[in-house]
């Protein structure tokens, strides 16, 4: 199995109303890497990641773990790349934590016993095993984020994509998330505005501007080049 998990070439995407959201994006992700995606709101970062598991379809080539992302391969692709969205409340849509984490495995055809086992293991990995029976509504933002990640881990993916994961988290929550992510072996893509977080977690970054990747490099380098620091 090659070390290249994601390959994107010439990705273009236009919304229904004609606006060009992506104007030719080239990107790749290798095994073991953590890449941060930086850029202004509306620059295409989230639109881009939605193409990685086929939620959006544009022109160009997107290949995930050797599978071209097309209608036929969607089940395979979605098994291998897990998306954690910004709003955990919309991601934890089942009545209890354990049912939500087991959602992915059940969809992949596992028996209820197997799915439950996978779900419990994933909850343990994220430190939320005790909350298995609770209703998602009553969890804190940090707890919800961890359960959302567990829901992805339960599917045993190769790649994790997290969209603005530190939004809604207080500093201890952010630290706890960073520690958790550092422990996970999967390759990761982090869409984020949180520069310290990006610096701590990622080996390289890509800077999105107006639908393309304007530059790639170390987070510090990009921050300097595009004046992307939070304050001054």
């Amino acid at each position: 199995m090659t070390g290249t998990l994601i390959e994107v070439r010439g990705l273009r995407f236009r919304y229904d109303d004609g606006t060009e959201a992506l104007r030719g994006v080239d990107f790749c992700l290798h095994r073991g890497e953590t890449v941060a995606l930086l850029g202004a709101n509306g620059s295409g970062k989230t639109t881009f990641v939605l193409h990685l598991n086929g939620l959006l379809t544009g022109e160009g080539e997107v290949t995930v773990c050797g599978f071209p992302v097309n209608r036929k391969n969607l089940p395979e692709v979605r098994r291998r790349i897990g998306l954690v969205f910004q709003d955990s409340e919309s991601q934890l849509f089942m009545p209890s934590v354990i049912e939500d984490v087991a959602f992915g495995p059940l969809n992949h055809g596992l028996s209820t016993a197997e799915a439950t086992a996978r779900a419990r293991k994933a909850l343990e990995t994220v430190g939320m095993a005790a909350a298995a029976d609770r209703a998602p509504y009553h969890l804190s933002a940090g707890e919800k984020k961890r359960v959302a990640i567990a829901g992805i881990l339960a599917m045993d993916p190769e790649i994790l994509v997290l969209d603005e994961p530190t939004t809604f988290l207080d500093p201890p929550g952010q630290r706890s998330l960073a520690e958790l992510l550092a422990r996970l072996p999967q390759a990761k893509i982090l869409v984020t505005h949180d520069i310290p977080f990006a610096q701590a977690m990622s080996s390289r970054a890509a800077f999105f501007r107006e639908g393309t990747i304007a530059a790639e490099g170390a987070v510090d380098e990009l921050v300097r080049r595009f004046n992307w620091g939070p304050l001054g």
């Binding site: 939605l50 979605r78 998306l83 969205f85 409340e89 991601q91 009545p95 959602f103 799915a115 009553h138």
Partner: protein, 242 residues
């Protein structure tokens, strides 16, 4: 907050909580029918049934006074009709309305206080209710409080901006409120899209599979039989003897 209390109560571990939801639902239905179809000796019957329900509350290890009071909320509606019945010269009807509506509400409250909603819905599906509808109910319940909170925040924000102040015309206030509801609609719609995306991203392929598996135990059969027979017997005894 009612729903927080209800969630807590429904997560208990008493013998009543552990009974099969189908049995509890059918028992509640039987009780409701016994009450609804009763015409004679209502005060006696009501007293006996009230004691019975309090007994079940205790067996379920739930606090009796809050439960008894909570069931009384229905009376705020009933009392108007009871008053009208009294005025129209039909005191028996007034008594009937008050007693029946209260006991029915108490019984339903007990059902949902001893059964988690998702489990109850699953039980109803196994009893033949349409899955499509029950899943809508399940998701409605899941997001009920989330969206209510969003609505409260919007209201607070609007109030801080001076909504409801006397100087605006009624028409513009109506439009402002309409705009607020429309904004809430758009947010809810957006959330629905997000949920759909999450489902697809995790491989949803057209069916909701559940972890729940219901199995009738001997205790369930005993409970169900007793729960159906006892109210019927009470009624027969009261109607015969008094």
């Amino acid at each position: 907050m009612h729903h927080v209390v209800l969630e807590r109560w429904s997560r208990g571990t008493s013998a009543v909580h552990r009974r099969d939801p189908r049995v509890k639902a059918l028992a509640t239905l039987a009780f409701l029918i016994v009450i609804a179809t009763a015409h004679r000796q209502l005060p006696w019957l009501a007293t006996a049934c009230f004691v019975l329900l309090c007994g079940v509350t205790l067996a379920a290890r739930l606090p009796v006074r809050p439960a008894v009071l909570r069931a009384g909320i229905v009376l705020s509606f009933t009392v108007v009709f009871a008053a009208m019945s009294w005025i129209s010269g039909d005191p028996a009807r007034a008594v009937s309305l008050l007693l029946k509506s209260y006991l029915s509400a108490f019984a339903v409250l007990l059902l949902v206080s001893t059964t988690r909603i998702s489990v109850l819905l699953h039980g109803m599906e196994r009893l033949g209710a349409p899955r499509f509808l029950l899943m809508v109910v399940q998701f409605l319940y899941r997001y009920l409080f989330v969206i209510s909170e969003e609505a409260q925040h919007m209201r607070a924000a609007a109030l801080s901006r001076g909504a409801g102040a006397g100087h605006a015309t009624r028409r513009s206030r109506l439009q402002a409120a309409g705009g607020a509801v429309a904004a809430l609609f758009a947010r809810s719609y957006g959330r629905a899209e997000d949920i759909h995306r999450s489902m697809l991203a995790r491989g949803f392929s057209g069916e909701f599979r559940t972890l729940e598996s219901l199995r009738l135990s001997a205790a369930d059969v005993w409970f169900g039989t007793l729960a159906v027979l006892v109210p019927i017997l009470i009624r027969i005894v009261i109607e015969r003897s008094v």
